[in-house]
Point group: C2
Chain length 351, copies 2
């Protein structure tokens, strides 16, 4: 078995964490008897400054030949506005391959101390990834005058809402049987009431799943006060973005949060990435926690059908965090990005 | 000095907490030498079911004659959809009186145990309250078909963004000198880039204030991981809604979170309310924590120019929570809504 992986390290700590995760993925492949062939793409803000584009014109076409994409981080706001870099690289990949499911697991790894007194939670947040509040539709009039008005339109389609909710119900069946559907239908009476309606229709179809509707403000609070009461959470693009940063926070920080962008059954490459960004403040110093990207790599292997290898990577991460000896500064240690990756790779070889 | 107060208890626990807060406000008035004249309005979901409207047709006109409005909670989703009840009562008051500042303080009262290990924070979130994501603009096509599309448009005006940010900069000057401005400009490139631009213009004008821009996902996480690093936070209608429920969560729950809806210098009645809703699950049983509404009452007195009385109410609340003897179930006690209010009123008389 051989898989072709496109690596897009991107900006800042993106290169460091992708390098680190690759060591672990290579070790997993060796141990589990498959091959990973990598090709790296230099698309980034530096690329933009040199070539006027975040990725090559045929970039999406070239990516389509791969089995999966592993991405580090996109963005370097000091030289390229985020609204340019993200709309030039990260967001087009999610949209072009119609990667409508953005799945993010949130739980505390052994030995990791979170900010909450509560420690016993295990969440899977499924975020709509192709439409909604990220449609990009909108504009501005009377620019620069006192009468300026800016508008931005969220666009939700029945196909878009239904397929991501359906994926959520399927996951809920596989996990606890509980699903939370998130809207703000008390204030946004067009799109969010629509989402609620689709939720109710699917809830009738999946009568075995216990489905609860939450407003985004209420579930944001609940993730802090009663995280263990939630299991699978399905939310729109924007709400999922916010809730998964909360998820990252309660699991000990962005250094741990991984993200799988996939189109289940779609025959397109999935894109796997850490939830964190390029972190200009610590870039290039070996300080970044590679576990989020390693975890994303595990999700990638799982998605490619190598579930045992994915599980082995997660067990190896757990062995390393549980032992607590090799840790980056955000975890309270002094080890480098590469040292943490090496420890996970070693645990994998032992495991 | 006499102030005319419109009471809108509304639905569910709204009536219980407004009754309770009124006891405390009456005690404060007696002690501080001013009079409060109340008129209660029965507008609610029950009113809607009886009369087909959440409030009377001349409701806003009648409210305009008051010095302030104290509101309990609006919503009873079992009989009236939230999208109807909120758009028929709460949201029109905020909009009709152009109450563009929604200010919400978040800190732990003495003796209150929050969900975070961190306890030392003192936040003032200022939320835009009249436009943005709550504009109500939008619609649906191909309703009920597989091709259905729903859209909702956020509308931001320069006047709207500038005035709420300006209020934030003024508050930051009065407090720590630090301001956080919240957008999602990396994904929403029309409205949120606009908000960032207005922030930068005001930051230049308020050079003595240290202004930091955050993405909403990042600041949601920061409120959990490093709440003490933040002070005044200014956000759009939707983002402020979410961030203040997080604020409520970290301050021990919605039972403590108060909200002032005001138009600084506008000569219109402000509207003061708890952040929580009608809580159908505990309504009518005397279980609701009245402190959020009592705190809202203190904010009301402050806004009316009775700062000493407002501060006295807060000190009385602190005396009660600090002693820990009289507490509703959410605070770990067995006292009723009325008993907690009576304890605060007694502490006020002693104070
Ligand atoms: C960088 C940004 C556009 C992105 C998002 O909001 O989707 C990120 O925050 C994420 O969560 O993947
Ligand atoms: C009830 C709802 C419409 C309201 C809001 O979102 O403004 C509430 O959550 C609040 O925070 O005041």
């Amino acid at each position: 078995r051989q898989y072709r992986i496109a690596l897009i390290p991107g900006d800042g700590i993106g290169t460091e964490v992708v390098d680190a995760a690759w060591q672990v993925l290579a070790a997993a492949a060796a141990r589990h008897g498959f091959a990973l062939a990598a090709e790296a793409f230099p698309w980034s803000c530096a690329h933009y400054l040199a070539h006027g584009r975040m990725m090559d014109a045929d970039g999406l076409e070239r990516l389509s030949a791969f089995d999966a994409i592993l991405l580090g981080a996109v963005g370097w706001p000091a030289t390229v506005p985020d609204s340019v870099s993200l709309h030039g690289l990260l967001l087009p990949i999610r949209k072009a391959f119609d990667l409508y499911v953005n799945a993010r697991p949130h739980r505390l790894l052994p030995g990791v101390r979170g900010p909450l007194r509560a420690e016993d939670f295990d969440l899977l947040v499924i975020r709509e990834n192709t439409e909604g509040e990220y449609s990009g539709a909108g504009g501005r009039v009377h620019v620069g005058t006192p009468h300026e008005v800016a508008v931005e339109t969220s666009i939700f389609t029945r196909r878009g809402v239904e397929r991501v909710l359906r994926h959520g119900f399927e996951q809920a069946r596989r996990r606890s049987g509980r699903l939370a559907s998130v809207t703000k239908s008390n204030a946004q009476k067009h799109t969010m009431v629509f989402w609620d309606e689709v939720t109710e229709q699917l809830a009738a179809e999946y009568a075995d799943v216990q489905c609860t509707r939450y407003h985004v403000d209420a579930i944001a609070a609940r993730l802090i006060t009663h995280p263990a009461s939630l299991d699978v959470v399905v939310a729109s693009n924007l709400f999922g973005d916010i809730l998964t940063d909360i998820g990252a926070a309660i699991q000990g920080g962005l250094g741990f949060a991984a993200s799988a962008n996939v189109n289940p059954g779609g025959g397109v490459p999935g894109m796997f990435e850490p939830v964190h960004g390029s972190a200009p403040d610590i870039a290039g110093r070996g300080l970044a926690n590679p576990l989020a990207t390693i975890w994303a790599g595990a999700l990638m292997l799982e998605h490619l059908g190598e579930a045992a290898a994915g599980a082995a990577i997660i067990a190896a991460m757990e062995a390393v965090t549980g032992a607590g000896r090799v840790a980056t500064p955000d975890m309270g240690g002094r080890a480098s990005t590469a040292e943490v990756a090496a420890a996970v790779a070693a645990a994998l070889a032992d495991g």
